[in-house]
């Protein structure tokens, strides 16, 4: 690019810019983040049942150690995450889908299956998906170790876990 000559007109004056490298031109942008909440499964029998969901994540953000991972989490894990973030990060953490106390009333008093009802599980799944996507996309949340543990560790080991920050690698 030639330089503009000195007696340029005001209307066509501008700042010189740095040319970008070929890699930067064509590389996929480093802002790719997709999290899906899928495959709800109910485990156990009778009173001791619980439902968990698959959290599948694909990303190319540098801050995440794994670019693809898949873990299983239950509602209480989400609650734990929310609590950690509220305490440690400065963001206003969005709310989770409701706890659904009504549905947890003993089975013989309800006509349907309570929290193991398919419709309800689907509703909850959508809500959880919205929640995790909003949270994981926030730069300040990305600095919290609790988020990385939640998304990328196979199980959340509450004994070993120590709250802290994660820096960009």
């Amino acid at each position: 690019m030639a330089t503009i000559d000195a007696d340029n007109r005001r209307e066509i004056a501008r700042l010189p810019s740095r040319p970008i490298s070929l890699e930067d031109r064509y590389d996929p942008p480093a802002n790719f983040l997709e999290i899906e909440v899928l495959n709800p499964e109910t485990h156990g029998f009778g009173n001791k049942r619980y439902t968990d969901y698959e959290i599948r994540m694909r990303t190319n953000l540098p801050v995440f150690r794994l670019k693809e991972c898949s873990v299983r989490r239950r509602y209480s894990d989400f609650e734990w995450l929310r609590k950690e973030l509220e305490r440690d990060s400065k963001i206003v953490v969005p709310s989770l889908p409701s706890k659904a106390w009504q549905r947890q009333v003993p089975a013989f008093l309800r006509r349907d299956d309570g929290i193991f009802e398919d419709e309800f599980i689907e509703e909850r799944r959508k809500g959880l998906e919205q929640f995790i996507n909003k949270v994981a996309g926030h730069p300040l949340a990305q600095n919290e170790r609790s988020l990385h543990v939640f998304l990328q560790d196979t199980t959340i080991d509450h004994d070993k876990y120590v709250p802290g920050k994660v820096r960009n690698s």
Binding site: M1, R10, I12, R14, R25, Y26, P29, N31, L33
Partner: protein, 813 residues
């Protein structure tokens, strides 16, 4: 560095996606556009430019949307640009009348949002350059760089496309700078402009790949393909600049384009842009940059379909080199074949997963090139064929390419190329052709063989030597003898199988093209080779393939007779030919139809008789008696028998080489055979035919060595009387009357021949008889025919009654 817009991306693209939603959005946008445009036009009519610009900016605001699909955005864009044109016309008009405002270029930069700002800037810039308000070079540079402000792929692409369209006529296309104060720029500035615009557009286009959720990838890729012409237009514009010559193309244009194409590593972009380069720039340029182009091809990303690109280039250059019928368009120093041959080998080596059909397609294009550009140098074509065979040998030695696979289809296509380009005699010079043919399975070999034969027949190529015939048969072996890999081989070989019949008929027809025009001995060799080849084909094939050989052999005897002055051995050669035919026909008798061998024997007898060589009589007699034996074997089939007997009689009437002894034996046998036929009408008719054997048939007079007619009155009469007697014994009235008519006709013939004892009285009595009998037949349709026949006889007689000969004829209506 990156902006975390991931969430917004998915949300916004999901929102507008449903079809109805899109339609409504587009409709709303269009309506807004029209409203603003209308307002703009109204205030422009009142000469208020500022107000006009304001409305224009509002209108352009509709192009800021993220919600429309590319197709719909395009529709919106078209309408907006159309309306913007009004503004441009107005301003141009103002300048022409000296009323133009001079500060608009600055003023529009105060527009609040970047998309309207840049569209207006481009429009004004266009007007100002034309009106010489601002220097062209600087403004163009400015515009192309300012467009960087829109980084959204879809909006950016359309904006830059608008820029390109606007400056179409403004790009400087001169070698040198002009001398005036305001520099207009040179071709180099134009190149800079377009190449920059191109690289930015390519960047945006590739970026589209990553926008949105992975589940929408297919749709996004389809949308990208729909927009490719926007990027391609830059290349088109480059090709339209006149000052771009081979040198500039090679040093500036192509390297810059290639840099972008190779480094973007996006297969959609690479496939399209490489193809675009080939199509858009002249062949001359390609010829001079082959190495660079092909090097870039090797560096393309692995999923690009390189086969189509290379084939496109090869085909184009092949067409270029043979344009106007000459092969001179390619300069001496560019060895097209070698270059491509090497490059293809490199490409194949570097892409290990290239499917075999792609490799074959590349070889096919190369073969096409070598056959068209190096027509008389068979070694090129041969080399390609050899390489192809090697490739498959490396993959799996001694295995056939499975039938129906894409690789098999490509191989068939490849093998058809030489057949189309050359005639078969030249194809036979490609001695590696058969190597590739052997790779194929039965079905494909069959297809190729049929194609070859059809081509020979269509082009009417004559194959003059035995050696070439042998080579041709090597290729066509699939059709000639049983193949180990053909399904249902024996069951398909019946005359009810149409395909089999068609195929063998073609092979047989081929025979007519084997002609050694001036060399009968060569022709004899050809016949021998055919016999040797066809005898291995099985009886069912021989049904089709032997008859032509036999007929050609007979024809050859005539040729030998014609040159008997020059060739003293001609009679021996004819003898050999007849012996050969005897052998062949004998084989054919094993087939169920006796008709064919019988006819062939009779034909042979005739031929021998015509030739008149020293043992023609022996040969003819042998053939005749063989035919007679076949006749006797038809005992069960009355219709066939009477037809065969008719043939025998007819042939004997024409054969002139029998001496009296042989001739009388045959005459008597045939006459007796006539009376032994089962059905009366057949007896009568055949007897009538036999009369000619005693009259006009010729036998050889041994003392004069000339043939003379038999003219045996007594026997003729005897036959006639016998025939008459038999006719009276027929019960079916209509048939009887018909036969009486036929009898009468024969008598008339002999009357005309002046046979003694046939006089007018005899005729009269017959006429009377016939007239009496006529009343007995009914008047239905079949008998209508008989009546007509009889009428014709009577008409003839009436005509003849004027002549002196027919004095005393009694015939009334």
């Amino acid at each position: 560095m990156s902006m975390q817009k991931a969430v917004d991306n998915s949300r916004s693209s999901n929102a507008g996606l449903s079809m109805d939603n899109q339609e409504k959005l587009l409709a709303d946008a269009l309506q807004n556009v029209r409203q603003h445009a209308f307002a703009m036009k109204r205030v422009l009519d009142q000469q208020s430019v500022m107000e006009g610009l304001k409305h224009a900016a509002n209108m352009l605001g509709e192009l800021r949307t993220s919600l429309l699909s590319p197709k719909n955005y395009y529709e919106l864009h078209v309408v907006v640009v159309e309306e913007l044109h009004h503004l441009e016309l107005y301003l141009t008009d103002e300048f022409e009348h000296g009323r133009g405002s001079h500060d608009l270029y600055e003023v529009v930069q105060y527009a609040g949002n970047i998309v309207p700002r840049l569209y207006l800037l481009i429009t004004i810039g266009h007007v100002y350059i034309r009106a010489n308000e601002l220097p062209r070079r600087e403004v163009l540079r400015d515009l192309v760089e300012m467009c960087r402000g829109v980084q959204h792929p879809l909006r950016g692409l359309f904006l830059r496309n608008y820029l390109l369209q606007c400056v179409k006529s403004l790009l400087p296309d001169t070698e040198e700078e002009n001398q005036e104060a305001t520099k207009t720029g040179t071709i180099l500035d134009s190149l800079d402009f377009i190449l920059l615009n191109f690289s930015e557009m390519n960047k945006l286009w590739v970026r589209m790949q990553y926008q949105g959720h992975t589940r929408d990838l297919q749709r996004r890729e389809q949308e990208r393909r729909e927009l490719r012409i926007l990027v391609g237009t830059n290349l088109v514009r480059l090709s339209e600049l006149e000052c771009v010559n081979v040198e500039r193309y090679k040093t500036i244009v192509l390297p810059k384009i290639m840099e972008q194409v190779v480094s973007c590593r996006d297969s959609i972009a690479q496939e399209y842009l490489m193809e675009c380069i080939i199509q858009v720039f002249p062949d001359e340029y390609h010829l001079n940059t082959l190495n660079e182009f092909l090097k870039a091809c090797r560096e393309l990303s692995a999923s690009v379909n390189i086969r189509n690109i290379l084939i496109s280039l090869i085909d184009r250059l092949t067409a270029y080199s043979t344009r106007d019928g000459s092969q001179q368009n390619i300069p001496e120093n560019i060895q097209l074949f070698d270059i491509f041959s090497e490059q293809i080998a490199e490409v194949v080596k570097s892409r290990i997963n290239m499917p075999p059909e792609d490799i074959v397609a590349l070889q096919s294009a190369l073969l096409n090139l070598s056959l068209k550009c190096y027509r008389d140098q068979f070694e090129y074509g041969n080399k390609v064929l050899e390489n192809t065979r090697k490739i498959f040998d490396n993959i799996a030695l001694d295995t056939q390419v499975q039938t129906g696979t894409p690789a098999a289809k490509e191989l068939v296509k490849m093998l058809k190329i030489p057949i189309d380009c050359y005639d078969i005699l030249d194809v036979l010079k490609l001695n590696h052709y058969k190597l590739v043919l052997q790779l194929l399975s039965y079905r494909e070999r069959h297809t190729v063989c049929m194609y070859i034969i059809n081509s020979i027949l269509d082009k009417e190529t004559i194959i003059p030597t035995a050696e070439q015939v042998t080579q041709l048969f090597e290729l066509l072996l699939t059709l000639i003898i049983d193949q180990t890999d053909s399904p249902l081989e024996t069951s398909r070989q019946t005359i009810t199988n149409e395909d089999f019949v068609e195929e063998q008929n073609l092979v047989a027809r081929l025979y007519n093209n084997f002609q050694a025009p001036n060399d009968p001995d060569q022709q004899y060799h050809i016949i021998k080779i055919c016999q040797d080849t066809f005898k291995n084909g099985g009886l069912e094939r021989m049904r089709f393939t032997y008859p032509p050989i036999i007929m050609q052999a007979y024809a050859l005897t005539f040729r030998y007779k014609n040159i008997r002055e020059q060739d003293e051995k001609w009679e021996k050669k004819c003898q050999k030919l007849f012996q050969l035919c005897n052998q062949l026909i004998n084989t054919l008798t094993k087939l169920e139809t006796n008709d064919l061998p019988l006819r062939l024997y009779l034909q042979g007898a005739l031929a021998a008789s015509e030739i008149g060589s020293e043992n023609a009589e022996t040969i003819a007699y042998e053939f005749f008696s063989q035919a007679y034996t076949l006749y006797e074997e038809q005992a069960g089939d009355t219709r066939a028998q009477s037809a065969s007997l008719t043939l025998l009689i007819g042939t004997l009437e024409k054969v002139t080489c029998f001496a009296e002894e042989n001739h009388s034996t045959l005459r008597q046998s045939l006459t007796q055979a006539a009376t032994r036929l089962v059905k009366r009408p057949d007896q009568v008719r055949t007897l009538l035919l036999c009369t000619h054997l005693f009259w006009s048939a010729q036998r050889l007079n041994e003392s004069t060595q000339k043939s003379e007619q038999v003219h045996d009155n007594e026997k003729v009469l005897a036959c006639l009387k016998k025939a008459t007697k038999l006719t009276t014994q027929i019960m079916d009235q209509s048939v009887q009357v018909q036969l009486y008519n036929e009898l009468l006709n024969t008598y008339i013939y002999f009357f005309n021949q002046n046979l003694p004892d046939i006089d007018i009285t005899l005729l009269n009595s017959l006429i009377e008889k016939l007239q009496n009998e006529m009343s007995k037949i009914s008047s239905n349709e079949n008998d209508e025919f008989i009546r007509n026949q009889i009428q014709k006889t009577f008409d003839y007689l009436r005509q003849q009654s004027q002549l002196e000969k027919f004095q005393g004829l009694q015939i009334n209506n």
